[in-house]
Amino acid sequence: MADTTDLKKGFKMLIDRTPFVVVESQFVKPGKGQAFFRTKLKNMMTGAVLDRTFKSGEKLEKADTEEREMQYLYKEGDQFVFMDNETYDQMRIGEELLAENIHYLLDNMNIDVMLFEGRPIGVTPPNFVELEVTETEPGFKGDTSSNTTKPATCSTGLVVNVPLFVEVGDKLKIDTRTADYVERVKS
């Protein structure tokens, strides 16, 4: 059994059978009063963040979560099939759970899958992926202004704002945490 001394950033715990991860934790204690830990917790299923204050010494339940590296194999209907790189077990993950991460899935790409009691609850793609541009308006030769951008559609369906010099067929480095264009990759 865990207790409030475990309340450090990154600690994963169960509240009402839902897994939460500690985002922030602060020890607070009035000089003549009771000690508490003021925390910000993120619901690992929904991403919602909530404030919660625990009494020092309170017992906590550790969440049975683990992160595993898996390889993306293929799409089947609205399911995405992954393979655990260690056990070679296959796992299907629905579109709903992947959400915007669908736009970063490339065949054979490794991705971290968070499991809660053996079931997938979220995925973390690599921080950067390279995607090919399939559609964008032609740029204007000679325009080097860096403030002007245009939309470009990538092979996975992701639309990003890019500088005017980007053309169809270019490979772009994308930051998956912000969904932003980083640079054009020399090929």
């Binding site: 602060q26 020890f27 607070v28 204690k29 009035p30 000089g31 003549k32 009063g33 009771q34 000690a35 508490f36 003021r38 204050t53 009494k55 020092s56």
Partner: protein
């Protein structure tokens, strides 16, 4: 060993080159045969005939040409491993513009300012023991036991008992910068070992001590900040110039949490939850504030309030949401004090905490007679933190517990 270097490195600014010099310091960078030698005042490139190892403590002898010292570095001590050492003491104190070292110097200035303030007002600086027969019976404080002592000893959680015994002994104005220890307290505003500034004033109540507090903090701020009373606080500045605002606990709960203390009070945990979640963070944001008239059930060593026996003569000051001190119009009635101690012991026992002994000599002092007095315990590390705009009290200590 070589003769000691005569001057700090910043003396070079005042020398007209070419000049012969002899300087001591540490080699903090090395490029070819040029060593950057640094001491607490400055650094200088030394073009050496034989380059010393990186990290070595050296005495550089040679000629100052206005840009560099050209000459020889005598190695006094050389590091046996890598330099800088990962997690070593040099980087801990010197990185980010030697921030921790600078803060230690500022802390020393703050200590001096505190002493000047009290010495000027005829307070006697005292030192009382760290290991005591009873560390206090506060329900929410746990003490470190001193191993193997019989009768048992604990490290003080505050020097309160012995200082009040000094009042009985005839010292009417006393102060102390005391090292205190509290188990299980660690966070941005807590370290298990910390420094408490505690003072007592006879023939006084909390009114006079609150006045001491605001003038003390303003004095220390002016000393540290070139006459200004606007301190960095935590993220946004706070003007600590007196007078500070006074507000009762009842009023604060009404204003910031929209509840009546008497409705909350039967549930002590709820009281403290509201205090830490809703009230404290709002207090002292632009100007410091005193919270007064605490519930009588939380009187500790304070007397009951002369205007209202359901409240006690206890105050706390808040600066930038940080509890800076806790003071009392002191309880000097031995019968009432014994009754509270016995009740505190029972409560500690029922909550599974150690019921520390009652300090009979302390009660004896009250029986002998302690003049009506006011006292205050102020977190010195927190004061320095707020004056410097540091994030944690560990940032203004030489060695916070994580560095031990």
């Amino acid at each position: 060993m070589s003769e000691s270097p005569r001057y700090p490195i910043d003396i070079l600014q005042r020398l007209r080159p070419p000049a012969p010099v002899k300087l001591g310091g540490r080699v903090v960078a090395l490029e070819g045969s040029t060593a950057t030698v640094e001491d607490i005042t400055a650094s200088v490139p030394v073009e050496c005939d034989a380059p010393p190892p990186l990290g070595a403590w050296v005495v550089a002898t040679g000629e100052w040409n206005g840009v560099a010292v050209v000459g020889h570095c005598e190695v006094l001590t050389a590091p046996t491993g890598a330099f800088p050492k990962e997690d070593g003491d040099w980087p801990a104190f010197q990185r980010e513009g030697a921030q921790r070292m600078q803060r230690l110097r500022a802390r020393a200035r703050a200590r001096r300012a505190v002493r000047d303030f009290f010495d000027d007002r005829a307070f006697l600086e005292v030192e009382t023991p760290a290991a005591v027969p009873s560390p206090g019976l506060d329900l929410h404080l746990d003490a470190f036991p001193v191993a193997g002592e019989n009768p048992p000893r604990w490290l003080i959680t505050s020097p309160e008992y012995q200082m009040k015994r000094l009042l009985a002994g005839g010292a009417p104005r006393i102060y102390q910068l005391a090292r205190c220890w509290r188990r299980g307290e660690l966070g941005a505003l807590h370290e298990p070992e910390f420094t408490m500034l505690e003072w007592y004033r006879a023939f006084a109540s909390s009114t006079e001590v609150m006045r001491d507090t605001e003038h003390l903090v303003a004095h220390v701020a002016r000393t540290m900040l070139d006459g200004s009373t606007v301190i960095p606080g935590r993220g946004s500045p706070v003007d600590v110039a007196p007078p500070w605002q006074r507000m009762t606990v009842d009023e604060a709960f009404r204003v910031y949490a929209d509840v009546a203390v008497d409705d909350v009070l039967p549930d002590e945990e709820r009281f403290f939850r509201i205090l830490v979640e809703q009230v404290e963070p709002q207090l002292g944001r632009m100007r410091p504030i005193f919270l007064t008239h605490w519930p009588a059930s939380m009187a500790s060593l304070a007397r009951l309030h002369p205007d209202d026996p359901t409240r006690c003569d206890r105050f706390e000051a808040y600066v930038a949401g940080v509890e800076l001190c806790n003071g009392f119009g002191e309880l000097v009635d031995p019968v009432e004090q014994r009754r509270r101690f016995e009740a505190d012991q029972k409560r500690r026992e029922s909550e599974g905490r150690i019921a520390y002994p009652i300090d009979e000599r302390f009660l004896g002092a009250l029986e002998e007679g302690v003049p009506p007095s006011g006292g205050n315990a102020l977190g010195f590390d927190r004061l320095v933190m707020l004056l410097l705009g540091a994030e944690t009290i560990g940032d203004v200590m030489a060695f916070p517990s994580e560095r031990l």
